[in-house]
């Protein structure tokens, strides 16, 4: 290192030691302060390009500090502690209510089926046709139940992500290790649930695919 750097180097080391003693945890504000100290100490020996680069790093530190303030203002704890549990409870209630309503419809339909057995001719046929349509329509409960389960899964993922943000920026949970990505078995990879209508294969597509194996 050239002689001219030595004085500034000692000064910078002392400054960094002072910052470390004051705030041992790495914080964006400290990061910004360190960059500023480095810039001050080295400004006379930097090229224009180096200076621009370090200013960008300083700006990055400031952006992180601002993000931390903004995240704190969002009250992220409320998302996990209140909003997501509320949403999942509401979805569970939807499933319970639709199941209850579907049971009532099916019970009435079964009564109609019994009545259909006591009449004959066209009336019996029409009654059975009507009950068949009702049975078919009631399968919505299964499909909506599976869709809601998928939405609950998505909410859980958001909950996890929010928890990670809190762990990253919040003092209480700082330093937690990041969990490894969940590895799915081949069986789990095949459990996708109902496809959205525009993405789903219809029965005729399934039939063609099945026939292609013969």
């Amino acid at each position: 290192m050239p002689d001219s750097f030595e004085g500034k180097d000692i000064l910078l080391s002392e400054r960094l030691a002072e910052i470390r003693a004051r705030r041992p945890a790495t914080e964006p504000e400290i990061f910004t302060e360190v960059v500023r100290a480095v810039l001050t100490a080295m400004s006379e020996n930097l090229t224009v390009h180096d200076t621009a680069l370090l200013l960008e790093v300083e700006e990055l530190g400031r952006t992180i500090a601002n993000a931390k303030i903004e995240i704190a203002a969002l009250k992220v704890d409320d998302i996990n502690g209140c909003h997501i549990p509320f949403a999942t409870d509401e979805l569970d209630a939807i499933v319970a209510h639709t199941a209850s309503a579907t049971d009532a419809i099916l019970e009435s339909c079964e009564t109609l089926d019994i009545v259909a057995g006591t009449v004959s001719g066209e009336a019996a046929d029409k009654l059975q046709e009507a009950t068949t349509r009702i049975y078919e329509a009631c399968s919505f409960q299964d499909i909506t139940g599976q869709r809601i389960t998928k939405v609950v899964g998505t909410l859980k993922t958001i909950e996890d992500k929010v928890a990670r943000i809190i762990a990253t920026f919040g003092p209480k949970t700082a330093g937690l290790p990041t969990p490894p990505p969940v590895e799915l078995t081949r069986e789990e990879e095949l459990l996708n649930g109902p496809q959205l209508p525009q993405q789903a294969m219809g029965q005729s597509d399934i039939d063609k695919l099945m026939a292609s194996f013969d």
Binding site: T102, D103, D113, E136, G202, Q203
Partner: protein, 128 residues
């Protein structure tokens, strides 16, 4: 080939509503001997102790899925010829391919109608 509608049919689904719907639709096409199971493990137990001519199963169940049930059935010397129809919301190509590879007799995607159910049962039992 005439279909014996007095045969025992096992329907498997973890949604009680679906079991009820399928049971009623089967009743309308004169299959009256219908038993229910709420997951693959219960179904396998019933299959091993009973005498069933047809299995109609959902895929997405726990702890044993419909696909695992199918694999168990096909690996069982006494059960391996039992016609097996999968009724499921899983409609991706890879699902149909996996089911076929495991030996499924036919595949119905939810939501389905009574005509499709009747048609697939006739096809499967007609070939049995």
């Amino acid at each position: 080939m005439a279909i014996d509608k007095s045969m025992n049919v096992l329907i498997v689904d973890d949604y009680k509503t679906m079991l009820r719907i399928i049971r009623n639709l089967l009743k309308q096409i004169e299959f009256n001997n219908v038993e229910e199971a709420s997951d693959g493990a219960e179904a396998l137990s019933k299959l091993r102790t009973g005498n069933f001519g047809l299995v109609i199963s959902d895929w997405n169940m726990a702890p044993m899925t419909g696909l695992q049930l199918l694999q168990e059935v096909r690996a069982d010397g006494r059960l391996k010829q039992t016609p097996f129809i999968m009724i499921t919301a899983e409609s991706k190509t890879e699902n149909v391919v996996a089911a076929k590879a495991a030996g499924v007799s036919n595949y119905i995607v939810k939501p389905f109608n009574a005509e499709t159910l009747k048609d697939k049962i006739e096809k499967v039992l007609g070939h049995a």
